[in-house]
């Protein structure tokens, strides 16, 4: 590519301080990245990674410190300003318009070279050129809604490159990808690096950071812990830097003898949100005292699977059995009463009422059972004492039980949902993406609680896109691809590679 035209040879953030009322989000953080380098930014949620990157991208103005591009001090007023200076950002949540084609999305918001007349043909040619150069494999004419998640991410990358980004910020780019897609992404990133671009790679997945980056900076509680070259660091060292203490990365997993089949799905078919077949003849069994992991790339029917079991989506065929009883036609409430617990994937959307207090959300399922109410009137004393117990037992960090739930951190909201669901000691638990977007501390805690629940005999269906999580917690693993169960693997025999192939729809030995 046009190396000579690179706008950024080096970028430095020096002593950046960003204060929010009552909290110091960035405390004199110094960070730099050079052309031809991948610099990873590692840290828990709330460590200040996003704030620092938002300062760099012009979304926030720092309260102190300075930004230097090629040694010259600059002020970045807005994202538009950042883009003009050659900084691009790939957000975790894609900023694409589904109904438009790839080309239209890339051209969106840019001036046409032909004034009021569109120049989509030119844009398309340039997209082809870019995707060839970086092995991005994108069809510029495809409408975005037809694309898989990995492809959409590549569209975002092309979008940034098209806008002339010489410095790319990638915010948790691997969260939605299969292991193979991660490999492809890394190949693209390495190519960009060879072309002299500067890359900032934000992640909390230690092995990826170790695999891709040249240097690693770790943030904790708004401060820079250290910046280290990738050579000679271990995952354990990085983890300790992130959380400030030793972390169990692989937990010992005691084999338990599973009991009776508590949750059974027989030939379940279901349609997705837009009426497409989302589950196809899904059959599985989860036994008491067992965690069955469901691996798969996002959007392959996981959401529908969880909803069918919770009673939020009616299957078009097949049966769901809870403890041997056919519950296919039961309402969610009846299933809850029969011993089902559900940790929904979209916790802010399905799991809680954001405007409600912590206490109200903690009794969202049980508010009409004694002692919380006599059927008509709510008993606030009982609700408060139960809420206080749960806040203490589940270590939910909240100023009070009257606090609006929205103001808690993601990890604490997840602990709240966990508290509500586990306090019923469910016979069957469906945990969908239980630790997505949750910091390491809370993740560790949630994993412990899930394992404890397993010891108590709960049959757990763990749906996760985080393969490490699946491998760490599950007794058996199934892979879901395009709504089909691709195979059942015992934990002892499971390897990331084999699961990755199944996740991509390649059925081995079939």
């Amino acid at each position: 590519m046009n190396n000579s035209r690179l706008k950024i040879a080096s970028l430095e953030l020096i002593d950046i301080t960003k204060r929010f009322p009552g909290v110091l989000a960035n405390d004199r953080v110094t960070f730099d990245v050079k052309s031809g380098e991948i610099h990873a930014l590692l840290g828990e949620n709330g460590a200040g990674k996003s704030t620092l990157m938002k300062v760099l991208y012009g979304l926030y103005q720092p309260d102190g410190g300075e930004i230097r591009i090629d040694g010259k001090s600059v002020t970045i007023h807005s994202p538009t300003d950042a883009i003009a200076r050659g900084i691009g950002m790939i957000h975790q949540h894609f900023m694409l318009v589904d109904e438009l084609t790839v080309t239209e999305n890339v051209a969106l918001g840019l001036k046409s070279s032909r004034g009021p007349v569109l120049d989509l043909d030119k844009v398309e040619a340039r997209i082809r050129q870019l995707s060839q150069a970086y092995g991005l494999h994108i069809n510029p004419k495809a409408p975005v809604w037809t694309l898989a998640v990995g492809e959409r991410q590549r569209v975002e990358i092309v979008k940034a490159l098209y806008r002339g980004a010489d410095l790319l910020i990638l915010d948790e780019p691997t969260a939605v990808l299969t292991p193979q897609e991660v490999d492809d992404l890394f190949a693209t990133l390495n190519q960009m690096k060879r072309d002299g671009r500067a890359l900032i790679f934000i992640s909390h997945k230690l092995h990826e950071v170790v695999a891709i980056s040249d240097r690693i900076s770790v943030l904790r509680s708004g401060r820079l812990v250290d910046t280290v070259p990738n050579q000679g660091v271990t995952r354990a060292m990085l983890a300790r830097m992130m959380v400030g203490r030793d972390v169990l990365l692989d937990r010992p997993h005691t084999a338990l003898t599973p009991g009776a089949a508590r949750l059974v799905l027989e030939d379940v078919d279901a349609l997705g949100v837009i009426g497409q077949p989302a589950l196809r003849r899904v059959t599985l069994e989860v036994h008491a005292g067992e965690i069955l992991g469901v691996a798969g790339v996002s959007g392959n029917g996981q959401r529908e699977l969880a909803e069918v079991i919770a009673g939020l989506r009616a299957p078009t065929g097949g049966r769901v059995l809870l403890d041997g009883v056919d519950v296919t036609s039961w309402t969610p409430g009846r299933r809850t009463d029969a011993g089902l617990g559900y940790i929904p994937e979209e916790r802010m959307h399905d799991g809680i009422v954001q405007e409600f207090s912590v206490a109200e959300n903690l009794v969202l399922q049980d508010y009409d059972h004694p002692p919380m109410s006599n059927g008509v009137f709510l008993n606030f004393g009982a609700i408060a004492s139960r809420s206080r117990d749960l806040v203490r037992d589940f270590n939910i960090r909240t100023p009070s039980i009257e606090t609006t739930t929205r103001s808690l951190s993601g990890g604490n909201i997840q602990k709240l949902i966990l508290a509500r669901e586990l306090s019923r000691d469910p016979k069957v638990l469906v945990a969908a993406q239980p630790t997505r977007g949750v910091d390491i501390g809370a993740t560790e805690y949630i994993h412990q609680r899930l394992l404890e629940q397993r010891r108590r005999g709960t049959a757990t269906l763990l749906i996760s896109e985080d393969l490490d999580e699946i491998l760490n917690l599950s007794d058996r693993i199934v892979v879901i691809y395009e709504g089909r169960i691709m195979g059942v693997i015992a934990r002892e025999q499971a390897t990331a590679e084999q699961i990755g192939l199944l996740m991509a729809g390649v059925a081995e030995g079939r």
Partner: protein
């Protein structure tokens, strides 16, 4: 911290008042443009509404239907549905109450009056319920359906008051003014301060405001209504029959508006007239919003807007400006109240986040609680 909370509370109280003042300032400019002295006009308005026993009694009379409608609006908004159909619900409530009373006119008042009010409420509930069921079953937008039901109710009234329900006296006199026969005295609500129109309906409205508060915040039904309104997905998973509560919110809202119609008929006009709904169906929404969609907040809000209606009439008589100007001021108040809500919400969220973070800080300064978990 304590001080900050207090100041947030201060903000919540001060902003609506500021909104009213700004609306009045702009209204003052309009008055000046109409050639009136704004200070004089406002003085007439305020003294007319609140400055005398008679004025206050009129204000309370106007407040009654406003408050009843506003209570229904509080329920429906809390339940996540928007009821723009107050006018139509008032009309069918009043029509039903009138027809029912005239039909059973010989029944004793102690029985007939409560039944009349109930029939009015039921008719309004049915009218709201049509929109509610359409919304719950077929996801028909309730804003559109309630507005269209207003038009239907209006035409129904025009038909009935010119045909089947037309006062026989009007036919005999040949004047044919579109109004019903007068209701029997047995169902007239007690006049509290003759010669003003103030009637016992105001007490009923105030009692109901407290009951609606209890319903929304103290009962499982209210908990369900609020959950469904704030997050239907979470409500569904929590085992609540969401469509039922969507419909139920509109049924209750319609019921309160229908009751307002019945109360107007039995308390004020003692017969069904054209124009009986008097825009209360819309002004009630304004009052509910001004009262922060809280049943108890709706009390002072309806008092204020009732006063504005009374004062505007006085203003029209004295200063010769159209009383429609008060509609403009009402609109301005709503605009500023809604706009100021954004500030309050932002401040509240900030306060919440700060409190959460402060407690986090406190926790992390003590030995990590997380590490202590076995």
């Amino acid at each position: 911290m304590q001080r900050f909370l207090r100041s947030l509370r201060f903000l919540e109280l001060a902003l609506p008042i500021a909104a009213v003042l700004i609306a009045f300032a702009i209204g003052g400019v309009l008055l000046a443009l109409l050639g009136a002295n704004p200070f004089e006009a406002y003085w007439v308005l305020i003294s007319g509404a609140f400055g005398s026993v008679g004025g206050l009694a009129s204000t309370l009379t106007k407040m009654t239907p406003l408050l009843l409608v506003a209570l229904g609006i509080c329920i429906s908004f809390r339940g996540g549905v928007i009821n723009i159909g107050g006018e139509g619900q008032i009309i069918v409530g009043a029509l039903a109450a009138t027809a029912f009373t005239l039909w059973l006119r010989d029944w004793p008042g102690w029985l007939l009056l409560p039944l009349t009010l109930i029939v009015g409420a039921l008719a309004g509930a049915v009218w709201g319920g049509i929109a509610g069921v359409l919304k719950a079953r077929l996801n028909v937008n309730e804003i559109l359906s309630t507005v269209m039901l207003n038009a239907i109710a209006l035409q129904l009234m025009n038909f009935l008051l010119r045909g089947p329900m037309l006062d026989p006296a009007q036919i005999a006199a040949g004047t044919n003014i579109a109004q019903s026969e007068a209701l029997p005295r047995s169902v007239w609500l007690t006049r509290l301060a003759p010669p003003t129109l103030l009637h016992s309906g105001v007490i009923l409205a105030l009692v109901l405001a407290v009951l609606v508060y209890l319903l929304l915040w103290r009962t499982t039904i209210g908990f369900r209504i609020r959950t469904v309104g704030l997050n239907p997905s979470a409500a569904r998973y929590a085992g609540m029959p969401v469509p039922f509560y969507v419909a139920f919110s509109l049924i209750l809202a319609g019921g309160f508006a229908g009751l307002a119609g019945a109360v107007e008929v039995t308390g004020v006009s003692h017969r069904m007239l054209e124009g009986l709904s008097g825009g209360y169906g819309f002004s009630g929404i304004v009052a509910a919003l001004f009262g922060k969609l809280h049943p108890l907040g709706a009390i002072p809000a309806s008092f204020l807007f009732g006063g504005l209606l009374v004062g505007a009439n006085k203003m029209q008589l004295t200063v010769q400006v159209p009383s429609a100007l008060i509609t403009v001021i009402n609109g301005l108040v709503v605009m500023f109240v809604v706009a100021s809500e954004v500030y309050v919400r932002r401040a509240r969220r900030r306060a919440g986040r700060e409190a959460a973070e402060a407690s986090l800080k406190r926790e992390s300064s003590t030995p990590s609680a997380e590490a202590a978990v076995p």
